[in-house]
């Protein structure tokens, strides 16, 4: 197979890992019925924190843990504001987005463009020798392998465990969950925190691996993409992951094409993936039936299966027990 394609696929997988973490994290949060809208700010602040901690301590592990802690604390703020203080989740999330972004620039000043530690490359012995697949999937770093695990575990968790069933019930119909003895708001806190930790991991993934180092607004925009990917993915782990990889493909196609079109400003190629993602989102959340009807028969079922999915019925709704 064309080595260029293999290299591109490999880099798409690698560069999409943080987006997978963030998307699956937010998916967990939303499955519990809470929207953590602060993702764009959370990722920035946790990327900064992870880099700063790793830079100062020299420990990657501490860096990642620090990033996850930051993500988790921000998420808990959202949960606390929404559940305990009964405030609007969207408003809290939005304010936190702005606040965390500014905070990351302010606190991160001393670390701008400093060379720092990075996650080492670690091909998995044996698996890496599988033709084609091995080079794409298993010639990566630990972070990428963790992203595979997160996708799989999320899927099993949601659909094959009692805990996952409880989680889904809380997001779908909290009254019914309560009636069955489930502590609705505790579950909501728990998964908001878990989702936030994954979002924090995504931040660390950028500053310590995918987009090494720290600079002003280092990851700006990614959080919104992650939020869109959750919708695109219909709150299903596989499809959320697919959305993350799709975004990666769009980005790398942009950078591959760019040298061929010297007349087009580079900003167009940088912005195009965002626009295309928006388009994909429109297709998915718009008139799905109509879209499916217009496609040739064989494609129809595939597209329908791909596009099936709707938000948890209790998403964003407050729950107070009688």
């Amino acid at each position: 197979m064309n080595p260029l394609i293999i290299e591109t696929a490999k880099s798409v997988i690698a560069s999409s890992a943080p987006l997978v973490f963030a998307g699956i994290g937010e998916m967990f949060t939303e499955r519990a019925g809470v929207v953590n809208l602060s993702l764009d700010g959370s990722i920035l602040l946790s990327a900064m924190a992870a880099f700063a901690i790793a830079f100062l301590s020299g420990s990657l592990i501490l860096g990642f843990l620090g990033g996850m802690l930051v993500g988790m604390l921000i998420a808990l703020l959202v949960a606390y504001g929404a559940i305990a203080l009964k405030q609007d989740q969207v408003a809290i999330g939005f304010v936190l987005t702005l606040l965390c972004a500014d905070l990351s620039s302010f606190i991160g000043k001393p670390f701008v463009r400093k060379p720092g530690p990075s996650v080492p490359h670690w091909p998995i012995p044996g698996l890496v020798n599988i033709p084609v697949i091995g080079r794409i999937l298993f010639d990566q770093d630990v972070l990428v392998y963790a992203s595979y695990a997160v996708i799989l575990v999320a899927w099993v968790w949601l659909f094959y465990t009692q805990a996952g069933l409880r989680l889904r019930s809380v997001g779908e119909r909290p009254e019914a969950a309560f009636a069955r003895g489930i502590a609705v708001n505790r579950v909501r806190y728990l998964y908001t925190a878990l989702g936030g930790a994954l979002v924090g991991l995504a931040g660390g993934g950028y500053s310590l691996s995918v987009k090494l180092g720290w600079s002003h607004r280092h990851t700006a925009g990614i959080g919104w993409i992650a939020l869109a990917i959750v919708i695109f993915g219909g709150w299903h782990p596989f499809r959320v992951a697919f959305g993350a990889y799709l975004f990666g493909v769009l980005k790398s196609v942009g950078s591959l094409l760019q040298p061929g079109f010297p007349n087009i400003p580079t900003q167009v190629f940088q912005a195009a993936p965002f626009a295309l993602m928006l388009l994909a989102l429109l297709l998915v959340s718009g008139d799905r039936e109509g879209l499916a009807r217009r496609l040739p028969k064989p494609l129809r079922a595939i597209v329908q299966a791909l596009l099936a999915g709707r938000p948890p019925a209790g998403l964003g709704k407050r729950f107070e027990q009688g």
Partner: protein, 487 residues
């Protein structure tokens, strides 16, 4: 197991939902809890099953006081409740609903849930699709599923809140049979209803609630008069239907075809005159709703003509129909009729003169106050509509209609209402008829159709019968026609 409720009080602001209720329930008995809408039945049962806490009062199980902090507590003590609107997760399959909250290991055990559903289903003759999402099941089936779930959890007391609303006749028969079976097996069954006949048919004891208090206790056989006077505190007056001369032609439907994804209604001819009441009979989903929507201008016909007051309005927008004095009152009061979240006063502001830039709050307030008094709505101007009871929502909907109407189309105008409210609603409707408004309405209650219609048309599978003169048709004949015979 013996349940005693002692001096239960529960107030919602000024509303005394339960005002010192004491009650005893024994095993092996189907115990009826009868009362009109708003009597406090649901509140009391929610307290007994742990969904709400009482302001005051005690619950004794076998003589020992218990405190339920959640429904799960009550279930652990053996008390389970089936809510009027089944409290399940619509997006889940039947199996997932069964598994949710049932004891077991860390993994979701679909096989075990399947076995439970099969065994218990077989015992009661329920056949439920285990894998389809519950949202695709009928209310009756969802009720069966909830029953299976509670029994699988081992409850010994099962409470059913208005279980026959919205279920089919065969489902009702199956339900009653299952309830008999359960009581014979020694369970206590509490059957909450506002329908006299059902309580008479099923229960051996009944407690009647009125305005949050126990109005009386009866044992079978029950005398209807006695039940009615306990429920309402007085005998019911009938408003009666005066014969009136019919006026000019209001509505002409000619060879109408209307399609929905599931059904096609075709070949409909109908002429309606001022002051005439036409009852639309038939099983739900036989085409009545399509005709109503088309006549209200809410759905474009595929063929034929609709003529209002001599003018062809086929295919014209809804606003044209409104201008011609047509109004539609849907059965889904909160979904289609009212705006949840808005208060009564805001509804009157919306329904009133909306031409200016600023809201005429003074006018809206005056109108709200007048209508609340006029229509006996139990609520204040600043009550949100979703907080009103079903009967009061229906009154509000009627109060919001324009003064002058030529054609009033009503979908199940008295569904879920008690006898007194239904009569009152019809009293107001018949008043409009005397002022020349023509009325089209659907109902599944044959007595209501026969009592209030001048003519009845019967729908079956997208076909409409020729109009029948009500004076020449009996409830039995109507039943045959609805069953699809003779069309």
């Amino acid at each position: 197991m013996k349940i005693q409720l002692r001096d239960i009080y529960k107030y919602f602001g000024p509303v005394r939902a339960n005002d010192g209720i004491s009650l005893e329930i024994e095993s092996g008995v189907i115990h009826g809890l009868l009362g009109e809408n708003g009597a406090g039945k649901t509140t009391l049962m929610k307290i007994l099953s742990g969904y709400q806490s009482a302001d005051r009062g005690t619950i004794l199980l076998n003589g020992r006081p218990v405190h339920f902090r959640s429904p799960a507590d009550a279930i652990a003590a053996g008390i389970g409740m089936l809510h009027q609107d089944p409290l399940d997760v619509p997006a889940f399959s039947a199996l997932e609903n069964l598994a949710l909250g049932s004891p077991g290991g860390p993994f979701l055990n679909r096989a075990r849930a399947r076995r439970t559903l099969e065994t218990l289903g077989r015992r009661f003759g329920f056949s439920l699709d285990p894998d389809a999402p519950v949202s695709s099941l009928t209310v009756g089936e969802r009720q069966q599923l909830e029953m299976v779930r509670l029994l699988a959890l081992g409850v010994r007391v099962i409470i059913l809140d208005e279980p026959t609303t919205g279920i089919s006749a065969p489902q009702k028969a199956l339900l009653f049979q299952a309830l008999h079976q359960l009581s014979q097996e020694g369970l206590a069954v509490i059957f909450v209803s506002h329908k006299l006949e059902e309580v008479q048919e099923l229960c051996s004891r009944v407690t009647v609630l009125r305005q949050g208090k126990v109005a009386g206790e009866l044992r079978a056989p029950f005398a209807t008069d006695e039940m009615v006077s306990l429920m309402f505190g007085q005998a019911l007056g009938t408003y009666g239907r005066r014969p009136i001369p019919l006026g000019e032609i209001i509505l002409q439907v000619e060879n109408l075809t209307v399609r929905s994804p599931r059904l096609e209604l075709n070949g409909v001819h109908l002429t309606v005159r001022a002051g005439e009441v036409i009852g639309l009979a038939g099983l739900e989903g036989s085409g009545q709703r399509l005709l109503m929507l088309a006549c209200a201008g809410l759905q474009k016909p595929h063929g034929g003509r609709i003529i209002l007051g001599g003018q062809d309005v086929t295919g014209r927008p809804y606003t044209t129909f409104l201008r011609h004095g047509v109004a539609f009152v849907p059965a889904a009061r909160l979904e289609e009729g009212l705006v949840p979240g808005l208060t009564l006063r805001e509804h009157f502001a919306l329904a009133g003169d909306t031409r200016g830039f600023l809201i005429r709050w003074d006018e809206a307030d005056a109108r709200a106050a007048q209508m609340i008094a006029d229509f006996n709505i139990v609520g204040q101007a600043d009550t949100r509509v979703e907080a009103l009871s079903g009967g009061n929502q229906q009154r509000a909907l009627l109060a919001l209609l324009p003064e002058r109407l030529r054609l009033l189309i009503l979908e199940h105008p008295t569904r879920g209402l008690d006898i007194a409210s239904s009569r009152w609603i019809w009293h107001r409707l018949l008043e409009r008829r005397e002022r020349g408004t023509a009325i089209l309405f659907t109902s599944t209650d044959l007595d209501e159709l026969v009592e209030y219609s001048d003519r009845i048309v019967v729908f079956s599978g997208g076909k409409m019968s020729a109009p029948l003169e009500t004076s020449r048709v009996t409830v039995e004949e109507l039943g045959y026609l609805i069953g699809g015979r003779g069309l």
